[in-house]
């Protein structure tokens, strides 16, 4: 008779699972397409502002576009502020939608659960994947923008909107600060997207609801009657990314925005966890 001795719980090494998850994400064609677009965007933005620079500057009053054109500090931050309202949330949400809803629709989620990877661990792996993708995308975009700006306008053009010229090191630090801040905002979007992703088998539903939700948030924040609701909207502090361009940095709204994002992360992952632990796969 076969002995009934049960080995203790065994788990696959976490490093191996995380590597496998990243390999899977970065092998996916649409991830690569989006990253390609994000890499191209700052370069096109830099060149584009350079082209329209002359007519706008002749007009006297400087628009933000013209201000960006000759400024290697502003370019990455403005590129971040424009990507953070669409492309970065799109990439983050796409990854999150594939992470659980997509895997469920392909029938691969049950394979992982049967291996087994415990549900809590699986959520952690998925959260890691989404976090890495959004962080890498934001970092790549801002660094390319920073380099583009330096190439176009030179190292003497790191001018804060308070009128001070910053050394390259300080400029890079500001850009990294802005990037880090954007990354945390994207993690908040990712947390909510994963919670939705855990609740459905339709990846498109995740994409539609999260991107649609952000759009609605943007609309709500322009309605003065609903001002009581504004501090609860994740998008409320997204304008304050400009504050890293001030000298000294105006930290108040950035900190509030950071804390708000942390609240969203806590809520998102709590919901995702609850859904993950109860769902039938």
């Amino acid at each position: 008779m076969t002995a009934q001795v049960m080995p203790g719980p065994v788990r696959a090494p976490i490093g191996r699972l995380l590597r496998s998850e990243l390999r899977w994400i970065y092998r996916r064609p649409r991830t690569l397409i989006l990253l390609g677009l994000l890499a191209l965007y700052p370069i096109l933005f830099g060149i584009g502002t350079q082209l329209v620079d002359a007519p706008v500057r002749a007009n006297g009053d400087q628009s933000i576009v013209a201000a960006v054109a000759g400024n290697a500090l502003m370019l990455p931050v403005i590129v971040l502020s424009t990507t953070m309202i669409f492309f970065l949330p799109l990439g983050t949400t796409m990854t999150a939608s594939d992470a659980l809803a997509g895997e469920a629709s392909h029938g691969t989620l049950r394979g992982l659960l049967l291996a087994p990877v415990s549900r809590v661990r699986l959520l952690a792996i998925k959260a890691f994947g989404v976090a890495v993708v959004s962080a890498a995308a934001a970092l790549m975009t801002s660094l390319i923008a920073f380099v583009t700006g330096l190439v176009i306008a030179g190292p003497g053009s790191l001018v804060s909107i308070s009128g001070t010229t910053l050394p390259v090191g300080e400029g890079l630090w500001r850009v990294l600060l802005a990037t880090g801040w954007v990354i945390v905002q994207m993690w908040a979007v990712g947390a909510i997207a994963l919670a939705v992703s855990a609740s459905t088998e339709h990846p498109l539903l995740v994409l539609a609801s999260v991107i649609g939700g952000l759009f609605v948030f943007g609309l709500l924040s322009t309605i003065p009657v609903l001002d009581w609701m504004h501090p609860f909207l994740i998008t409320e502090s997204w304008d304050s990314i400009v504050d890293v361009l001030r000298d000294p940095i105006l930290s108040e709204n950035l900190v509030t925005g950071l804390l708000r994002a942390v609240c969203y992360i806590v809520i998102g992952y709590s919901l995702a966890l609850a859904r993950m632990i109860t769902k039938d796969s």
Binding site: M6, A12, A115
Partner: protein
């Protein structure tokens, strides 16, 4: 389970020689929005058996399997694998369980090998250094070595099914669950699956295979459980099930009429057949019948129990309930 408990478990097992069960469910029940999918399922899968879970589509086979593997939470009832309760013991037990549930699930943009590498990364019992070899062996085993670098998107239905089988067999398992494994396979593919099941059985692996096709269960299984409308209507060893299903004894004799009369005198029902007679065994036993005939001086050339196909049983069971 602690070591002490495990030892105690071994002690009881050797003291009372009950058959070891690879899987056991008691009172399993699943409700989907007031619809009963599965109810009162008490299933025993003895270790080393090949259990065929037989039932028409929609009889609750897949739901039962999903609950047995911890994918779906039962509304009521309990599941044990190798004597350990799920879902608590999932991490300890499931690594030894391979499964193909609800068809193969893989990513279309990855090749067959890449898909299996991803599955292998999640297998707790595979050492990282052994992954590449395990994947190649699994591909070899299901005959996909040649197509391993092609994208899964381009695979035929049969190839996809074989990929599912390969994933279930990445690691040497104690228990393999195959949900409709021959779905979409041509006759050659079906034979291959049968060979795989036979090999697993020969190696001592417990197999649970679900099917709505009787021929398949008859060809591969040692045990059978028949599901109908969410409940188990019959289960047991295939051999016993076959015997229980037919209560007839075929007797070859030249003196048919005399034999029928002799048995009827002893109130044993029998009816004439072309080469002899068929005796109903519901109220008597085979030795009794033979003894009665010998006492009446009737020559008996041959006696054997009548075998009907499992088909009859299946039809019988599902029709009556």
């Amino acid at each position: 389970m602690t070591f002490a408990e495990a030892e105690a478990g071994v002690g009881t097992a050797s003291a009372v020689p009950t058959p070891v069960l690879a899987a056991r469910t008691r009172g399993l029940r699943k409700l989907y929005r007031n619809t009963v999918a599965v109810d009162h399922v008490d299933l025993d899968v003895p270790e080393g058996a090949v259990l065929g879970m037989l039932g028409p589509n929609g009889s609750g086979k897949t739901t039962t399997i999903r609950m047995m593997l911890g994918l779906t939470t039962p509304t009521a009832g309990e599941v044990e694998l190798f004597g350990a309760r799920l879902p608590e013991a999932a991490q300890a037990v499931l690594p030894q369980v391979g499964a193909l549930v609800e068809g193969p699930g893989f990513h279309p943009f990855l090749s067959g090998r890449e898909n299996l590498l991803r599955c292998a990364a999640a297998e707790p019992l595979l050492r990282s250094s052994a992954i590449a070899k395990a994947v190649d062996e699994a591909l070899e085993r299901v005959g996909l070595s040649g197509a391993a670098s092609r994208r899964y998107r381009g695979y035929s239905l049969g190839m996809k099914q074989r990929m599912g089988l390969a994933a279930a067999l990445l690691v040497p398992r104690r228990f393999v669950v195959l949900d409709e494994p021959t779905n979409g396979l041509d006759p050659a593919g079906t034979r291959e699956v049968r060979t795989v099941i036979a090999d697993l059985h020969a190696a001592g692996t417990t197999v649970l295979v679900s099917s709505h096709l009787l021929s398949e269960v008859e060809a591969t299984c040692t045990h059978v459980a028949v599901l109908h409308q969410g409940t188990v209507v019959a289960q047991g060893e295939l051999r016993d099930m076959l015997e229980a299903s037919n209560a007839g004894l075929l007797v070859s004799t030249p003196e048919i009429t005399a034999a029928v009369d002799a048995l009827r005198d002893n109130r044993i029902p029998a009816r004439p057949m072309p080469d002899g007679l068929l005796v109903d065994l519901t109220s008597t036993t085979a030795p009794e019948v033979v003894a009665t005939l010998v006492r009446a001086d009737i020559p008996v050339h041959e006696v054997h129990k009548q075998r009907t196909g499992l088909e009859d049983l299946f039809a019988q069971l599902t029709e009556t309930s």
